[in-house]
Amino acid sequence: MEVNKGKTQIEAVQKDIWAPEYFGDNPDLYNVHEVKRLVHLAPVEKVLNMARAHSIWPLGFGLACCAIEGLMAAQGPRYDLSRFGYEVLRNTARQADVMLVAGTVTTKAADFVVRLWEQMSEPKWCMAIGGCAISGGPFVDSYHVVPGVNKLVPVDVYVPGCPPRPDAVLDAFLMLRAKILDKREYLQRSKGKVVTG
């Protein structure tokens, strides 16, 4: 027929250009890397990040006095972390998103800090709250203190202070939210300054 006049010609050309497996069973269907190359999930990732950023669940885990500021006072009625949806302190590493390392990390404690971090499921973030967690603080010259928790786990937000005020911890949570949502202009505002809340 007139309509299918060039069909065989086209098929012949296609067979020359394309490998034969593109017209039958595609072996690349079972190749994960090939599927990753072809299928992009960037918009889904954005949606997931929105969900993650507005429900960061901290791990209920405090090492020393900073836990009173970073975990308890920030959760209390005055500096209510609940208004952001970050009040759900999980007591198991399985369900937590962020680990707040609040307090002095001694060499003996370093073992279970790393173990808790490795037990947390991805995606996960870490905050170093207070001078001890950042750098060892006043105990940095001691024989039993880890000079900063970044020696053990990757840290996303550093909150300076001894202790930091609860509003500084709040600010750290907002910065972490900006980091998850990739809001660079929010983080640019505090660039080059130490944010103390």
Partner: protein
């Protein structure tokens, strides 16, 4: 009701090997320690070891181990001291007499390296098990910390 000074005086009469200094502290030689402590618990109702610690006297090449013992029934307290050689610091454990000595002796072993013979579980308690050295000794040297 017996008060502290009378108790120390009575101990001085009864045990000829102890010394009493001007602060009413009883000083016992190391080899008589266990029998003296057992007598304190059995005959003088000193049933509670409140504190066990040690001091490093590096100039005199000795450790002094200090026991603060309290009587919950009678209400008096007693301080007992004993000396250990610094090169070979071994001392009988008082854990069989007062169970509370368990962790306190582990702490003294951890920080000063005094070995308590007869202790049921003499491991480090504050520092890592693989830590080297005893930090409360006066000659403890350490490098590290800030970078």
């Amino acid at each position: 009701m017996i008060d502290n000074a009378a108790l120390v005086e009575e101990l001085r009469q009864k045990f000829n090997y102890i010394e009493v200094n001007e602060q009413s502290t009883v000083i016992v030689p190391k080899d008589k320690l266990l029998e003296f402590m057992q007598a304190l618990k059995d005959d003088y109702a000193l049933d509670f070891l409140t504190n066990l610690t040690a001091v490093d006297y590096i100039d005199e090449n000795k450790f002094e181990v200090i026991y603060n013992i309290n009587s919950t029934a009678k209400g008096y307290t007693l301080m007992v001291k004993t000396s250990v050689d610094r090169d070979n610091p071994e001392l009988p454990s008082v854990f069989p007499i007062w169970g509370g000595a368990n962790w306190q002796e582990r702490e003294v072993y951890d920080l000063l390296g005094i070995v308590f013979t007869g202790h049921p579980n003499l491991k480090r308690i504050l520092l890592d098990y693989d830590y080297e050295g005893h930090p409360l000794r006066k000659d403890f040297q350490w490098k590290g910390g800030r970078e």
